[in-house]
Amino acid sequence: MCRIGAIKSLDYVHPSRALRLMQSQQKGHDNSGFAMVMQNLGGIFESYKHLPTLSMACTDKGIKIAENILHEIGFRRILQWSPEVNDWPGLDINAMPHYVFETFNYPPQYENARRKEREELLLNTRLKLRAALEEDEEGFVYSFWPDVITLKEIGDPHDIGTYFNLWEADSRFTAKVITAQCRQNTNYDIVRYAAHPFHLQGYTALANGENTFYLKNKEFQQRLHRGYIGFESDSQCFLYTLHYVHRELGWPLNYYKHVVTPLPFEEIEKRDDQKQLLAIRQSLAHLEINGPNTIIGMLPDNTLFTCCDAKKLRPVVIGRDERTVVITSEVCGINEILPERNWEDDIYPNERETIVVTDDLEVQRWKQ
């Protein structure tokens, strides 16, 4: 089983906090990997928020391939940062030779382009990079997006932290939102792309659970959008549905829950918005999920949310103090990093709720 967690704070947070959040839930996962997405970046990336940052793990050759492609398109690198690694013997990590986080200026012809055009360019570029590096596994491109960094590795999360020197907090590598997950995808093949959180055009999702409508979701999604690829994990479907409902259809976030876990027909009949809800059950029937799940999602505007499957078969808890909100699978994780909080304010959401944390840290409970 996976354990998932997310920290959203008014202050910049170092990944060591995310590691501590997950480490205390160690018994609940299988120590097979660690992955995180950081958004609303601080430290060295703080002054480049508007420019896209590439997160990639690769070989020597991979770097060259990627840089050639980026150069050809016209991206100009303005910042490069690689974590200093502790390549100590005995660490349980299956690392790629290079981890690069590079920030680029847009190609000149896109300097004055509209936001939408730039966003399509970024996605196209990432897909191109991924395809080019896929052969011989020269590299893995996790995200290419402004103000977002992704790191994924196979191994023991504790050792991964040691390897990337993430246990020691500093102010250089921080963010106001960090989502993290411990475990590779052990249901299917162990591949780096299979580790959530997954990121697409500013949307991030991670999940604890199984999606028994995976095949239905996948078969439908792969024709919906060129960015819906991979499907190395059944949890990717949650991200693609989020992206589709919120960005492609332009629907408010509260409809996400209606799409993934629609209300039973007899409840829909009693509602004022039954027309809309039936339309969802009809046209988006293949995006419904089934099976036990807890999903954590993040929107481009830094809104964080969580919701569960319709039978609440997976745990999740939300704890907070004045400056930080934490969403995670088990309360021991929150106890670890917010020991002083008032635990009576902890929220254990029910199966028909979406808990939303706005950018100014207001926690809202939405009833489906």
Partner: protein
């Protein structure tokens, strides 16, 4: 004694032989009275009897005239193996026995010079049914728990109506975070995933039709199962058209347009909309053939409902004037949509065929989004009357065809937009829940069934040549006949009760299949939940092969 000539028909040429035990028979006459085919009759035989009357055995022989029951050796009045005689005999003195040496297919053609006609399903049994090589093999355990079929709630509903692609939904976000629309969307009815398939009021006795209508109403009003029945071609009693129960009925129009003048005339008096309109282009049991109602079944009330004289009623093999799919879309669908002011979904029924996917593709790409369902009927479907050669040798099995259509939709990202409904031999083994569930996993939104409904009511016909006399108007069960004496054999209340009970049992059984795969709504297209023990089936349907 008459001379028997070589080519005379004898009982041994017929498909069934009567096994009769004169020593048990009390000559009550029940069997002869009950045989609607007049396949047996009493006669007197000269019999030799050996007896002994003294204290010591002194056998003597005596000849006497004995009344007995005798099988008729006629290719018209032949025994159908219906077993009614056996059922009514108080002494177990008589029963039909299948004759493996029958020459019936040959002698009937030789003597009649006409094609053989009958009802029922395909009677060529050979290999294992495809669906029986498939099992529900992906069982939820451990981290992905099974559900409890008794405790959890399940959404067992399927759409009937055109479903818009998500990007065509006319909804936009409002400032208060809800969705609003000003446009109309095509009508969609959510109904039970098993439709009682189109059997016309001419094919069925009025008592049987009434039983089906009663069962449908009861399932809806008392059991909470929104089951719909399709009228079949041939109209609907005006009383039903004007009643509130019309909402449970899908009206069918086929190439003969029988009964539609009544329906059109009743429109101003309708208090409810019908559940849908089904345009029948083809039928799985006899693809390429139109409907066939023999004159002997065209009784007075059928003449009234259909507005026809007593004559053989043949629907043309195709809708006159429809030369292309586009045209059918425009003409028929639009006119029926408009007739009910765009409130009633209109679907199409075709026989499964090598070309079904092309037809489906044309419909699913139709930019007007008006076709509200694709009903695919496979070769194993039943019929009231057809040429045997069509029944046995034309058509296409349903399983792979349904799968092909679903996968064609998947390739275009249009799955679910025209709901797929499948039929044709489903429930042939008596277990419709399993067949329906597997078809749903393969991509059907729901299934429809006809022959099985008759069997619930008491039809004793089967696919091994038993009875199948639905075309004759002599149905021994009172189901497919218009003869008052025969029709009265059927107790509509009991037949309706059987149908209701079967649906209740099936409903539980479908849940019993949904629970172990951990799904609370219908697993449409979840082929990953299935495994096949046959490699060829697995490859063809793109499911996992297991052994």
């Amino acid at each position: 004694m008459e001379t028997v000539k070589l080519n005379d028909i004898t009982v041994n040429d017929l498909p069934w032989k009567i096994a009769y035990d004169a020593s048990r028979c009390t000559m009550c006459g029940s069997c002869v009275a009950t045989c609607s085919f007049r396949a047996i009759k009493p006669k007197v035989e000269r019999r030799r009897m050996v007896f002994s009357e003294g204290d010591f055995p002194e056998p003597q022989a005596r000849f006497s005239a004995v009344p007995v029951i005798h099988q008729v050796n006629s290719i018209r009045d032949y025994c159908r193996g219906c077993g009614m005689c056996e059922k009514v005999c108080p002494n177990d003195a008589i029963k039909p026995v299948r004759n493996p040496d029958t020459r019936h297919p040959i002698v009937t053609r030789c003597l009649g010079g006409d094609s053989i006609k009958r009802g029922g399903r395909k009677n060529l049994e050979g290999s294992t049914r495809t669906l029986d090589t498939i099992r529900v093999g992906r069982i939820s355990q451990m981290t992905d728990p099974s559900l409890d079929a008794q405790r959890h709630t399940f959404d067992l509903l399927a759409p009937f109506g055109r479903i818009l692609p998500p990007k065509k939904l006319p909804y936009s976000a409002t400032l208060d975070n809800s969705l609003e629309t000003k446009e109309k969307t095509p009508p969609v009815n959510w109904i039970y995933p098993v439709i009682i398939g189109d059997m016309s009021i001419g094919a069925l006795s009025w008592r049987m039709w009434e039983a089906v209508a009663m069962a449908t109403a009861y399932l809806n009003e008392e059991c909470g199962l929104p089951v719909r029945m399709c009228s079949g071609e041939g109209g609907v009693p005006v009383r039903l058209l004007k009643s509130k129960y019309l909402k449970y009925t899908i009206l069918q129009i086929a190439s003969g347009h029988f009964g539609w003048n009544r329906i059109v005339n009743a429109m101003p008096h309708m208090v409810e909309d019908p559940a849908g309109v089904l345009i029948k282009i083809g039928q799985g049991a006899k693809p390429g053939d139109g409907g066939l109602l023999m004159a002997q079944k065209v009784a007075k009330h059928i003449q009234a409902i259909r507005g026809v004289p007593k004559a053989d009623l043949l629907s043309p093999p195709n809708h006159q004037g429809l030369y292309s799919i586009e045209e059918s879309v425009q003409k028929m669908f639009l006119s029926f949509n408009a007739a009910f002011k765009f409130r009633v979904p209109v679907a199409i029924k075709v026989a499964a065929s090598a070309t079904s996917v092309s037809v489906f593709n044309n419909l699913v790409r139709d930019p007007y989004n008006i076709v509200g369902g694709f009903f695919l009927d496979g070769i194993d479907g039943g019929t009231g009357a057809a040429h045997e050669v069509s029944l046995d040798h034309t058509g296409h099995p349903i399983v792979s065809k349904l799968r092909d259509c679903y996968l064609a939709a998947v390739t275009q990202g249009r799955q679910g937009q025209i709901p797929l409904w499948a039929a044709g031999g489903l429930g042939k083994t008596g277990d419709l829940a399993a067949d329906a569930f597997k078809m749903i996993c393969l991509g059907a939104n729901g299934v429809f069934t006809g022959k099985l409904i008759l069997q619930m009511a008491g039809c004793i016909g089967n696919d091994l040549g038993r009875c199948n006399a639905c075309n004759t108007g002599l149905c021994p069960a009172g189901i497919t006949t218009q003869e008052p004496q025969l029709a009265h054999r059927l107790d509509p209340d009991k037949a309706a009760q059987n149908i209701v009970n079967y649906f209740l049992a099936m409903d539980q059984e479908i849940k019993k299949l949904m629970a172990p795969i951990g799904n609370s709504s219908l697993p449409v297209g979840r082929a990953d939940a299935l495994v096949a023990t046959d490699r060829a089936v697995a490859d063809r349907l793109q499911i996992q092969h297991v052994c």
